[in-house]
């Protein structure tokens, strides 16, 4: 599989992506039909995720903690670190193409993708069933998106 990190930011959502989002939300115990807000620019993405999103974050953290009871990953594994560097590089290239030179925001995007990649690896290590919310969210990243989370009852995605 060739991942398309950060290459579809701001593009209209396809039906498959909408189904992935609905499955992700339902899997986390959220309302599957939450309104979706498509973010168009890097600045808008940065502003959006500077608001608190505690319920959504807690739902993900609860699931992560549950999975970590049956599987652990080494954060200093060289292959894992190489993936993180690739994610940072892809975020930097995507930002540069859009005229964004904000080093912190590029790291925020890379950190978000790292976090999603960690969750997906954890889910696989814990041998979850297909369709697990962490696998669905990671699929959105692999398809070039940056899911930003739930803010004021709206799911935001770049």
């Amino acid at each position: 599989m060739t991942e398309a990190w950060f290459t579809a930011l701001g593009e209209p959502l396809g039906e498959e992506e909408r189904r992935e989002i609905a499955g992700y939300l339902a899997g986390l115990g959220m309302h599957a039909a939450l309104p979706i807000h498509l973010i168009k620019t890097w600045n808008q993405a940065g502003e959006t995720c500077q608001a608190p999103s505690d319920d959504w974050w807690r739902a993900e953290e609860d699931e992560r903690a549950r999975l970590e009871r049956s599987a652990r990953l080494d954060p200093a594994d060289p292959q894992w670190l190489a993936l993180n560097e690739a994610l940072h590089g892809a975020a930097a290239v995507a930002a540069a193409r859009s005229g964004c030179a904000d080093a912190a925001l590029i790291r925020v995007a890379a950190g978000a993708a790292s976090s999603a990649a960690y969750q997906a690896r954890l889910a696989r290590a814990a041998a979850v069933a297909g369709g697990h919310p962490f696998l669905r969210k990671y699929a959105l990243y692999c398809g070039g998106r940056w899911p930003l989370g739930i803010y004021d009852g709206v799911f935001a995605i770049f």
Partner: protein
Amino acid sequence: MSAYPSVKTVEEFKQQPEDYQTAVRKIVRSHALNELYGAQVFDEPAIRLAPTPYAKWLTCRVAMEEYHHHVRFRELADQIGVRAEEMDTRHKRPLNIFEVPLESWEQFCVIKMLGDLAEILQVEDLLHCSFVPLRNIARTTMPEEKFHAQFGLDFCVDLVETEQGRARVQKAVNGFYPEVPKFFGASGSRNNQLYRQFGIKLRSNEDMRADYMARAKSTVEPLGITLPNA
């Protein structure tokens, strides 16, 4: 500066006097451990304390960079004969700086602002190191170390916009800063003298400590924050 010749490769390193090899091993092991401790006890736990997804993801990325620094130093340590157990945080007692329990986001921002400033000085001192593989790791990690300290400063600038925030930052500085100057080692250190004799490091512990204290003061003063006695 020492006129010790450049040691360009690990193979050349193995031809150096035993004292040179021991000195380099001590420094590489120290950096490998410090980077790992920092990531484990500060950066990774701070993700939970960060107030927004923006801050959480940025902290996540910073944690990954710190782990990567550890791996770079550890790989070099492996090549120059440092035993694996010497780089295992389960077997080695951490420096005093890593024994401060992390309890708040403000505390983490202060640790990045002032703790990573101390790391910048340590890495700066290796930018012209006679052992070229170590010099190159220092040069590779330096831009990220600078970013980490700036990250801490930027968040502290936001935090001190309110009186309550300023008070929390001041409290965190009061708790963390007094431990940092010890990070530079003893004055009149025999080890440090050897490091300079071999061209591994440039400055004495006391020079670096004085420089750090001056730079820390000029970092926090514009925020209306004062440094406690160290």
